[in-house]
């Protein structure tokens, strides 16, 4: 029993004692007053009692400019079938309403509103001032969250990797860049130790053998490899579409320069010689996840297997030649307002699971 409750019990006993020691008139008056107080207390309790329903406001950084709302991938597509879309403004917002006939029953929330293209800073402000209930938290901001803020985090489900285009056709250049990247510095500072350093496509929690793939930098060997390559081949561009990854790309360019490679940031990511991208783990089944990653990156489809060794070999085969260089595995992290109840609202793969989430209403 906490201190507040002890004080309340003690005050009740004191009140009863005083009431017994009074005369009848005063006793009646006191009884009436007590009845009134009880009525008030009951009313107040009803006002603060959890109330199902409400609209959950979510803000995300992505700006989805498609004419129709996305049907695949994490986030909004995960709202179906519990919610159905009621409004779609490409690049701005989407509104979903609870489906009364959902297979699992009607969700607690009445509606979900999603604001698109909100910067991390604006999202943080909106969460603080109560204009949003659920926001994305980038890795760089994960350690800056106010004390007591609730977060929902997935498993590391996004693999950050370098995807070389065909112009960088010398494997020595690709290996030099792979060895030049100081993953530890990026992980410690830019990612604020969120996620995992990795040299593998599948995360450790999914495959169990990710640690086997080398993720350590070797500047000396990188320089040696780069020096053996003709100067024109040492110069290429790196592109990044996601602004959140841009500092990582800049750091990679800096590391590359130390290795003797001239890497510049391309203005148009699509035209770059190498891209820094995120690929999401689409399945909790390792072979499926690996196949999906290979398909996303345009790599040869790995052999279908359920045992670890062939899967390891398949992944190693994908990474052979450094066409793809995995760097990190990152989790999806969301900041959640205190009045959001239930949950967690995301799955280990980062899917939105908002059927069992409700809002605690502060209104009477």
């Amino acid at each position: 029993m906490n201190t507040d409750r002890k004080k309340k019990v003690l005050s009740v006993f004191i009140g009863v004692y005083r009431w017994l020691s009074m005369d009848s008139a005063r006793r009646v008056a006191r009884a009436v007053a007590l009845l009134l107080l009880c009525a008030l207390a009951i009313t107040a309790s009803a006002a603060t009692r959890p109330r199902y329903g409400g609209t959950l406001r979510i803000e995300i950084h992505a700006s989805i400019e498609t004419a129709d709302p996305p049907q695949l991938g994490p986030g909004m597509p995960d709202l179906a079938p519990a919610f159905s879309i009621t409004r779609w403004e490409a690049g701005r917002r989407a509104a979903f309403a609870a489906d009364e006939n959902a297979p699992g029953g009607r969700p607690f929330l009445d509606a979900v509103e999603v604001e698109l293209a909100r910067s991390p800073r604006d999202q943080a402000i909106d969460l603080d001032v109560g204009k949003a209930e659920m926001i994305e938290i980038p890795p760089s901001e994960a350690r800056r969250q106010p004390a007591g803020r609730r977060t929902w985090a997935s498993r590391p489900v996004r693999v950050v990797l370098l995807d070389f285009g065909t112009r960088v056709d010398d494997p020595r250049v690709r290996e030099a860049l792979a060895l030049a990247v100081d993953r530890a510095a990026i992980f410690n500072v830019l990612l604020q130790r969120q996620g995992e350093i990795s040299g593998a496509l599948l995360p450790q929690w999914l495959s169990g053998f990710a640690f086997v793939f080398n993720a350590a930098s070797d500047a000396a060997k990188a320089r040696e490899l780069a020096a053996a390559v003709p100067a024109p081949a040492r110069s290429f561009s790196i592109g990044v579409e996601d602004a959140a990854l841009r500092p990582i790309a800049e750091r990679i360019a800096l590391n590359a320069r130390d290795a003797g490679l001239a890497v510049s940031l391309a203005a148009q990511a699509g035209a770059a010689d190498v891209r820094l991208i995120e690929v999401r783990i689409a399945s909790a089944d390792p072979p499926r996840a690996l196949a999906a990653i290979a398909a996303t990156l345009g790599l040869a489809a790995p052999v279908r297997t359920d045992s670890p060794d062939p899967l390891y070999n398949a992944e190693r085969a994908l990474l052979e030649g450094f066409r793809v260089v995995p760097l990190f595995h990152l989790a999806d992290v969301y900041g959640v307002a205190a009045r959001v109840k239930g949950g967690p609202g995301i799955s280990p793969l980062g899917e939105w699971r908002l059927e069992n989430v409700w809002l605690e209403s502060g209104r009477p």
Partner: protein
């Protein structure tokens, strides 16, 4: 060129030279004054730049110090894990108005960099190296940015807290924005070449305008200052676009030359001033020259008028007007010259009168002598004949008739001779005025040659006519010219008593004609040639001495010229030139 023209030219040249000299002196003085002013302005701008440089340096020092004293910097300094602070520098730099800021740990590793955030962990050796920089003092430094190097005005402070040290290195780029804060006088501009690359690069030249376009113009000067590490002044461009550029080297804390400050002053004002002076000077010069020429013309006219009159009078004298005098209008040298001229002409007139008198007397004497001589010769036979006739009547009456007849013939012959002598003198005295008409000298010469054919044969003279076919006709009296020609032919025959060759030659002479009569006789001496045309002078034992005088008289009446050329033993040639 006349004396007056020469004088006028000299005066004009003097005026032009004087005006040109004044113009040059004014332009030179103006240019010197402008250059002095421009130098003062450049010095002022250099001082202003230095003040602005110092002020900015102090601002940067103050900002860096404020950051170093801030709680945020202390927190970074004492933090055991600075990985979360890698963005701190950006916020601090924004808050304190710095373009560049790095938080560097005690071991030199960058904790946070505002200008290059992802450079965390890299080591800044220069901060931990033994004292290149000093706290509280701003300095120039070559800073590396993601897109290359830049020149920055930097300051460094240290934070010591919790046993840890943190370097706070902040500053501002020295770029176009920095230069744009300088207040420049009209016509001046400031450029800054940032010596950040081994070779000259146009994009490193920053200015208040698009300086890169001017880079090629400044390149030699910049390279020279970098090479010599000394201030230089040069004039670049030409005409109104020219500008005087003061180039100052700027060095960093390691005494490395990091920049060249270029303070450029347009010479447009000077050029426009010079043009204005030139235009106005040209007008003034034109006016002065015109005035000078008018005054020179007036002065020369005034100076040369007596001289001109003197020359005219001299010309009149030369033309035979011996009475010409010059009006004496002054007492100067020209007046004295006029007086001398008048005295000279007066004396000449007197001398001529005396000479005429003398010659007249001499002529009369010569005439008397000639007359006496000519008349004496016939008189002597007359006297002898009469005395013979008297003697025969007294002593030999029988032979008197015979003697009388013989004597009468002699007397008649001598009387005829006397008559002929008197007729010659009469002809000379009665020379009529020529009746001019077109005369073909060739025809005249041919007729004359034909007339003397018999005499040529008798005198054993070979005559030859060399007549020019294109000889023009001349205006002359044919009778008188024929007479003169006959006299010359006779004279030539007389000059060849033993025979010889006589040539009559005609030829064009200017617009007129020349007639030459040459003989191969014994020739004449120089003295004889000079006296040949004197009346009554003759070298022959017979003759009146009037032949050549008549020739000269005829030619003179025709406004022609007769001359003689002869050498003893080589014959004589007479020439008659007729216009």
């Amino acid at each position: 060129m006349t004396f007056r023209t020469r004088l006028l030219v000299v005066f004009t040249l003097t005026v032009v030279a004087s005006v040109g000299m004044v113009e040059w002196l004014v332009t030179r003085a103006t240019r010197k004054a402008f250059e002095r002013l421009e130098s003062q302005r450049a010095d002022f701008l250099v001082a202003q730049f230095q003040r602005e440089f110092d002020r900015r340096g102090q601002e940067i020092v103050r900002a860096v110090r404020d950051i170093a004293l801030s709680d945020a910097a202390v927190n970074v300094a004492i933090a055991s894990d600075t990985s979360a602070d890698y963005n701190e520098a950006s916020a601090m730099a924004r808050a304190h108005g710095l373009g560049l800021l790095e938080l560097v740990s005690g071991d030199g590793a960058i904790v946070s960099s505002a200008e290059w955030p992802v450079r965390f962990g890299y080591v800044e050796d220069w901060l931990t190296a033994p004292a290149g920089w000093k706290p509280g003092v701003a300095f120039l430094r070559r800073e590396e940015l993601p897109d290359g190097f830049t020149l920055a005005l930097m300051a460094v402070e240290t934070v010591n807290a919790g046993g840890r040290q943190l370097y706070v290195a902040g500053g501002q780029q020295l770029d176009r924005d920095f230069l744009s804060t300088l207040v420049l006088p009209t016509g001046m501009r400031v450029l800054l070449y940032r010596n950040l690359e081994p070779q000259f690069a146009p994009h490193l030249l920053a200015g208040t305008s698009d300086a890169a376009a001017d880079a090629p113009e400044f390149q030699p000067l910049i390279e020279r200052v970098i090479r010599e590490r000394r201030p230089r002044v040069a004039t670049l461009g030409s005409g109104a676009a020219a500008e005087t550029v003061h180039a100052l080297p700027l060095t960093g804390i390691e005494d490395n030359l990091l920049a060249v400050l270029l303070i450029s002053s347009s010479r447009r004002e000077l050029v426009e001033l010079e043009n204005s002076l030139g235009r106005n000077g040209a007008w003034v010069a034109a006016g002065a020259i015109l005035t000078g020429m008018l005054m020179a013309a007036w002065a020369t006219a005034r100076v040369t008028r007596p001289v001109r009159r003197l020359a005219e009078s001299a010309g009149q004298v030369a033309a035979g007007n011996w009475d010409a005098t010059v009006e004496v209008t002054s007492r100067d040298e020209v007046g004295q010259l006029a007086q001398a001229f008048n005295r000279m002409t007066h004396e000449l007139v007197e001398q001529r009168q005396r000479l005429v008198q003398t010659e007249r007397v001499a002529a009369w004497r010569e005439l008397a002598r000639r007359l006496a001589h000519e008349l004496k010769n016939p008189l002597f036979p007359l006297q002898i004949t009469v005395e013979n006739m008297q003697r025969a009547r007294e002593s030999h009456p029988a032979e008197f008739d015979e003697v009388f007849r013989e004597g009468s013939r002699t007397l008649l012959a001598e009387l005829a001779n006397l008559k002929q002598i008197i007729a010659r003198f009469s002809d000379f005295a009665k020379m009529p005025a020529p009746e001019m008409q077109p005369v073909n000298l060739n025809a005249l010469a041919a007729e004359t040659m034909k007339l003397f054919e018999a005499q040529f044969t008798q005198a054993h003279v070979t005559a030859r006519a060399d007549l020019a076919p294109d000889l023009p006709t001349v205006a002359a009296d044919p009778e008188q010219i024929a007479r003169a020609l006959r006299n010359l032919v006779l004279n030539a025959i007389d000059a060849m008593p033993d025979g010889g060759a006589l040539t009559v030659r005609t030829m064009p002479q200017g617009s007129g004609a020349r007639l030459e009569i040459s003989d191969s006789g014994k020739g004449l001496s120089q003295e004889e040639c000079e006296r040949l045309f004197t009346p009554y002078y003759t070298t022959k034992t017979h003759g009146t001495g009037l032949g050549l005088a008549i020739v000269q008289s005829v030619v003179s009446d025709h406004h022609g010229r007769v001359s003689v050329e002869s050498q003893p033993g080589k014959g004589t040639t007479f020439r008659i030139d007729l216009g």
